[in-house]
């Protein structure tokens, strides 16, 4: 449920993850994804204007938007994960974490391992698709009017899924390390 929670946009966000070189990379990609969202908005507004006012639609907008969605998701997935914004049910885990910190952290680490698995499968399954689109120079659009290659999109998926898997691995490591230094009673951490 956490993904709907933060609506206080006036302040700088509270640091929700320790900074590290990997963290900068992940948050940098996240920023890039945000810029893609903004660009998508501007592109569509331009298209609406050109089409209705000058009767000159911009070619390929809908294909570009479709591809942008994938790019946005996989550029921002690792960062969403890093900042704990993936949706999950907290009714059991959160009370459990404060009551039995050690067991709770281990359970969360176990769940993150499933996350490593899921993201690895995505990266693994997308790799051949990405290679194929590179080798065959696959493209989207209508030849002669507008075309753009599909490989950047495919490789963003592979990259994003792989980084998300690494991010999950880091979460596992943090939780296991924390669980080693807590007793199983008392307050969190």
């Amino acid at each position: 449920m956490s993904y709907e929670a933060n609506t206080d946009l006036d302040e700088a966000p509270a640091p929700s993850a320790p900074s590290s070189p990997f963290g900068y990379l992940v948050d940098g990609l996240n920023g890039l994804g945000s810029l893609v969202i903004a660009a998508m908005m501007l592109l569509m507004c331009a298209d609406v204007l050109m089409r209705n006012a000058f009767n000159k639609p911009i070619d390929g907008v809908s294909e570009m938007v479709a591809a942008s969605i994938i790019i946005i998701v996989f550029l921002q997935l690792p960062s969403t994960l890093r900042h704990g914004r993936m949706s999950r049910a907290d009714l059991f885990l959160d009370p459990f974490l404060s009551k039995r910190p050690r067991a709770g952290l281990r359970l969360r680490a176990l769940f993150s391992m499933f996350g490593i698995f899921a993201c690895s499968v995505i990266a693994y399954a997308t790799w051949p698709i990405a290679v194929r689109s590179w080798v065959n120079s696959e493209f989207l659009g209508v030849e002669g009017v507008f075309t753009f290659p599909t490989w950047p999109m495919r490789f963003v998926v592979v990259l994003g899924a792989a980084l998300a898997a690494i991010q999950y691995a880091l979460l596992v490591w943090h939780d296991l390390r924390a669980s080693g230094s807590t007793t199983n009673t008392g307050a969190e951490k």
Partner: protein, 439 residues
């Protein structure tokens, strides 16, 4: 072991993982992957995952998700929420319980420019609750009004839940938006009646000491200032919904134009700093990625379900049980409300709809009507204890330790009852939802 048993096991395992706190998207992927692995082979399972990640969300239509979220965020920071509330407060100042009514009215109008009820809940918690408490309303009632009326955001277009329902049920998003209008207005009126009934018949329930404090501050609002305040929001509503229904643009483009319009309002009102702009963009990213990743994961899950033949089997057993369409509907709504205690609205729809849509179709139900009922039921779930998301949003935006989660649930309870009543009315008279949409 038959595919069907396997399907049920996969769902059971998935629900267990979700309840225990695994990321919902991951739970969907892992259990579906395992089920497809057993039914077919690991290669096919991996190929399904690849397709879900690469093709399921590569659709122009999904542009609506980040764009409407972006619009909602810009609207939240632009301060038009407070203006709308001011105008309604001024309009309703002569009525007893006027501030409560103003909150409902402002929420209804605000709902027409944001698609996320959480945005309404947090804006109006900050704007309306202090004002109501200053005028002698009990804290409990003040927060109850805000949490209760925030659900209007999901019924009155644009609405994120309607978009997601439209995508899964393959109904036009424009029609789904239209379908929410009459139910949304009806619910707003029912909330207003509830507040009036409290104010006139049981004033001690909502006012401290049983009386409303008079407005001792100098009246500064005039027709002119009120019009200036309401103008931007009206322009935005006309721009987005007008453009959408006059055919100037598609729902996705309506999101883009609306976001640009909200951005312009925030700029003109000098509410936007670079810092805030960046926060809005990253926050939009987080919310949309969480939703879109879930949609991708759910596409894998629904392919797995189709493979096991489960929706057909459930339809058959329901018919054999003689449950009938109404029995099925009641069971479904109970299930949705129950899930609302555990997980968020989008996840509920993504998990339930692939199972129930084929059944609803088999019973010849109107899918637009079914969608409206689903959205109302989901929203009821978000307001019922022990874990109502909207309630927690109000709590965190409130930042006032003397008002407990318990108070908010208690204050919201009358509104939940009204919503249940609305749900019964909407179920009995499909025309309320369908008439505009099928016109």
């Amino acid at each position: 072991m038959s595919d069907l048993t396997l399907g049920f096991m996969a769902i059971g395992l998935m629900l267990a993982f979700i309840v225990l706190g695994m990321h919902i998207g991951v739970a969907l992927i892992v259990t579906s992957f395992a089920a497809v692995w057993v039914i077919r082979s690991p290669e096919i399972a991996a190929r399904f995952v690849g397709a879900a990640a690469n093709d399921a969300i590569r659709d122009y239509l999904f542009g609506v998700v980040p764009l409407f979220v972006l619009m909602g965020m810009f609207v939240s920071v632009s301060g038009v929420g407070r203006d709308t509330f001011d105008v309604f407060q001024w309009l309703l100042r002569k009525l007893r319980g006027g501030l409560g009514l103003a909150t409902v009215g402002a929420n209804a109008v605000f709902a027409a420019i944001t698609g996320i009820s959480i945005a309404s809940a947090s804006v109006f918690t900050k704007v309306a609750v202090p004002e109501m408490m200053r005028h002698g309303y009990t804290p409990r009632f003040s927060v109850g009004v805000v949490a209760g009326s925030s659900v209007l955001g999901m019924l009155i277009p644009p609405s994120l839940l309607m978009i997601i329902y439209g995508v899964i049920a393959e109904e036009s998003i424009g029609r789904m938006f239209l379908a929410g209008i009459i139910p949304g207005i009806m619910l707003a009126l029912m909330f207003a009646l509830l507040i009036l009934a409290f104010a006139y018949f049981f004033p001690h329930k909502i006012f401290q000491g049983g009386v409303q404090k008079g407005d001792d501050d100098v009246e500064t609002e005039t027709l002119a200032t009120a019009s200036v305040k309401i103008l931007p929001i009206l322009l935005l509503v006309i721009l987005v919904l007008g453009g959408l229904y006059s055919g100037f643009f598609t729902p996705t483009e309506a999101g883009a134009v609306g976001a640009a319009g909200a951005f312009a309002i925030a700029i003109v009102r000098r509410r936007l700093t670079w810092r805030k702009l960046w926060n809005v963009l990253t926050e939009t990213g987080y919310v949309s990625v969480a939703v879109l990743f879930l949609i991708a994961a759910a596409s894998l899950y629904s392919r797995m379900l189709a493979m096991t033949g489960m929706p057909g089997a459930i339809t058959e057993s329901i018919t054999q049980m003689g449950l009938g369409p109404w029995g099925f509907l009641a069971a479904y709504i109970a299930m949705v409300v129950l899930l609302g205690c555990i997980i968020d609205s989008v996840s509920i729809m993504l998990i339930m709809l692939p199972i129930v849509l084929p059944i609803a179709t088999a019973f010849n139900m109107d899918l637009i009507w079914f969608g409206v009922l689903t959205v109302v039921a989901v929203e009821i779930g978000l307001l019922t204890p022990p874990f109502g998301v909207s309630v927690y949003t109000v709590k965190s935006a409130l930042n006032n330790p003397s008002i407990t989660i318990r108070d908010i649930f208690a204050g919201t309870f009358p509104f939940v009852l009204v919503m249940v009543l609305a749900l019964v009315i909407l179920a009995s008279f499909p025309g309320l939802s369908v008439w505009l949409a099928r016109m």
